[in-house]
Symmetry: C2
Subunit: 311 residues, 2 copies
Amino acid sequence: MSKVFVFGHQNPDSDAIGSSYAYAYLARQAHGLDAEVVALGEPNEETAFALNYFGVEAPRVVTSAKAEGVDTVILTDHNEFQQSISDIKEVEVMGVVDHHRVANFETANPLFMRLEPVGSASSIVYRMYKENGVEVPKEIAGLMLSGLISDTLLLKSPTTHATDSQVAKELAELAGVDLEEYGLELLKAGTNLASKSAEELIDIDAKTFELNGNNVRVAQVNTVDINDVLARQEEIEAAIEASSQANGYSDFVLMITDILNSNSEILAIGSNMDKVEAAFNFKLDNNHAFLEGAVSRKKQVVPQLTESFNA
Amino acid sequence: MSKVFVFGHQNPDSDAIGSSYAYAYLARQAHGLDAEVVALGEPNEETAFALNYFGVEAPRVVTSAKAEGVDTVILTDHNEFQQSISDIKEVEVMGVVDHHRVANFETANPLFMRLEPVGSASSIVYRMYKENGVEVPKEIAGLMLSGLISDTLLLKSPTTHATDSQVAKELAELAGVDLEEYGLELLKAGTNLASKSAEELIDIDAKTFELNGNNVRVAQVNTVDINDVLARQEEIEAAIEASSQANGYSDFVLMITDILNSNSEILAIGSNMDKVEAAFNFKLDNNHAFLEGAVSRKKQVVPQLTESFNA
């Protein structure tokens, strides 16, 4: 049987790594697949903290499946091709486990897809362990828990599903950690931005969306103090402009998210700022504006941008 | 709570009707949704036989969700927008249960998707009944069984999944029928083509696929004697040409499938016959050619056409 790659999206976050690592194990145990977890990038600091905490090595980074002799892939935590492996259109997508909208996704053949509108892809993978009666190893419970905490900001984001708190409780028990304590430690590990260059900062957690023909980059950084990040506005803007020019982004929207108070400052630069302002019903002042209560790119930023760009 | 429409694809077949009828019941029982099954067309003769056999009224036919005051829909047995309700782009797709490839499908928000590469959408819905611990009423078991038999030609098509025979066995027991006997009766009910005009015949089970910018119509009829259908070639070709002109199809591929011997004759007319011939490695003679062992549009025709049109 030929090898199958399992991976999350580019610029992997804790849910991309956690859900793919966990799913690859499940696919080996329950479905007898020769499944190998790989990643489309190095772990960020938050994910590195989780991997280190649970004693798991980071999945090796690949940029092409074909170059590794692999023709079949399983995607977790994403489905849009522009967020996936470079040669996604040349390989067979055998399965998808995800909790995002579906777009720019197409296959030639029927496949397994398991999508649910819940807080993390890890929540779904955990459910699949239960359905298949596969015991969850402690470190895998820890990685899935980290994915869920990361994506929901410790169950505070509006993307949190009613079923997620029970999932978090069960995973914390399996992982042998206190949910609140570990959760805050994990999130704080991701807010260490001082050591990052502006170029790195805007790429920690960034995704591209095609909105009515425009390539819109939406990035997010977590912090415990928004002003710490705004103090670096000048160098961040220079990095954004360089990145947009190099990659052909029409617009770049950076969410600077305060994980303690659950708000975001939006820093936005590009050709469609009228559409960005209309999306959030605010006025940018010196390229930024406060977005009260906004912590979720998926629920509080991308749909609003999509609607505004299509208007 | 507002009403949710559940429906299968246009030109509904037994699996489209069976899976949507069964899923709407499950959504009411297990998820508390105000779900109504509707259909995007009248049942064909095979499906009418199944509905009549199990004493179920055909779902009412709708062409628009918005016109009925419905904003939220669940799709079964399809996902491609051009096979769905006319205003699919203006409503919220809450869920999809399907066993086809994914294409021309996009949402603004996360959703439930449950896709498996199995013989019928009904097979998946039946699994969901079990997962949710919902008892299957006799007539619903009968409709799901009919969907599975229809789509797999009584478990003989290569689309049949290893798990499908067990599903068929269990559903036949729940429905109180003998699998083989009922199955053959059902399939034969769909081969009564003599009463159909050529226009009706080419539209019994037809789907449009966008292949490299071409609108390709792929239709299928079941028969117990291919020659009976070929005897009407002239009027069928006239109907195909009229339909292609009216609907902008670049090509029309009709599978005339012998359900007893599991073969098909392909009758094809259009602008890309070189691509059709390359797809199946045959030469059309007087617009038709024999395709040994081919009974599945999904597995033995559409992927081959897709590859050939993209070459």
